[in-house]
């Protein structure tokens, strides 16, 4: 179907800018997108009868990566090399 109605994972790489152009990039649109993404993740991995560690472990791993990215500048500066 047309590019505008597909979800992000169904969009090909070449069509990405076109797809981005059709999305509402206002605060409301972004917020709506975030809410939809969270609710689909929640319904798939957390809101089940017999879940496992996977639901929150993926969230924690994502948080670890994000925090490492934020503090990369500081971490790369500290030097553990012995002064030659």
């Amino acid at each position: 179907g047309p590019v505008a109605e597909r979800r992000l994972l169904a969009v090909r790489l070449g069509e990405l800018p076109a797809w981005l152009a059709t999305r509402q990039l206002s605060a409301q649109g972004l917020l709506g997108g975030v809410r939809k993404a969270w609710s689909s993740y929640y319904d798939k991995y957390i809101n089940v009868k017999r879940g496992g560690p996977a639901g929150i472990s993926m969230l924690l791993a994502g948080y670890c990566l994000l925090s490492y990215g934020w503090s990369y500048q500081r971490l790369s500066k500290s030097s553990f090399l012995l002064p030659d």
């Binding site: 917020l31 798939k44 957390i46 009868k49 496992g52 996977a54 472990s57 993926m58 990369y72 790369s76």
Partner: protein, 232 residues
């Protein structure tokens, strides 16, 4: 402010209205390998690279990050390794027990809700039975009213007969009175007449006749005494 914004922008009634019952929760979550990477990623790479593709990609990525010092090994690495090993050991050892405990809690909740529902259903069914019985009882109205009608008819009959008797006795009393009056009158007339006749007769007996009758009586007595003496 944020809550008010969320409240306004929330899309309401956009999907098809689904009537009860709600679809049940899925049994298990999406498949995740090693607790971190969803199965879809492996399926996505399978056609091009086979089974080992994602693992090679992971290894290559890790070596690249380490060699280019994009991931710096410092004291935090050691801490992370220790923490992760402890967490993984704990999950592997006690995961099943915790899952069983949580399942038991869920079961109890469900059982309680089902109990409430069953109790409500039973209560309503008994109410239905009682109601049917009351409706059956209402049909007995006919007999009740028949009995009442019989009672009233009997009362009316009794009253009527009592009054009939009263009428009869009253009439009889009046008639008896009339009869007694007539009898009394006749008797009084008779007595009066007898007295009058006697009085007149006595008056009519003149002294002359009295003397004659007395002399006759004496003669008769003498004659009788003579005959009596003769008989003795």
């Amino acid at each position: 402010v944020i809550s008010s914004v969320l409240h306004v922008t929330r899309p309401l009634h956009t999907t098809q209205q689904r009537s009860a019952p709600l679809p049940p929760l899925p049994e298990k979550g999406g498949e995740v390998r090693h607790g971190l990477i969803p199965e879809e990623f492996f399926q996505f790479l399978y056609p091009k690279t086979g089974v080992t593709g994602p693992y090679m990609l992971g290894t290559g990525l890790v070596l690249y990050l380490l060699s280019k010092e994009i991931y710096v090994i410092n004291h935090e690495t050691v801490a992370a390794a220790c923490i992760l090993s402890v967490i993984i050991y704990g999950v592997k050892k006690y995961g099943a027990d915790v899952a069983a405990f949580a399942d038991k809690l869920n079961e109890e909740k469900m059982a309680k809700a089902l109990d409430v529902k069953n109790e409500a259903i039973k209560g309503l069914e008994t109410a239905i039975e009682e109601e049917k019985k009351e409706q059956w009882r209402v049909e007995g109205r006919k007999y009740l009213f028949d009995a009442k009608r019989n009672n009233i008819a009997m009362l009316l009959e009794t009253n009527y007969r009592e009054r009939l008797l009263t009428v009869y006795s009253e009439v009889k009393k009046r008639l008896d009175y009339q009869v007694a009056m007539q009898n009394l009158k006749r008797q009084k007339e008779q007595d009066h007449m007898i007295q009058w006749v006697e009085k007149n007769v006595v008056q009519s007996i003149t002294p002359q006749q009295q003397k004659e009758s007395i002399a006759k009586c004496i003669l008769d007595l003498k004659a009788l005494s003579k005959s009596a003496q003769a008989a003795v």
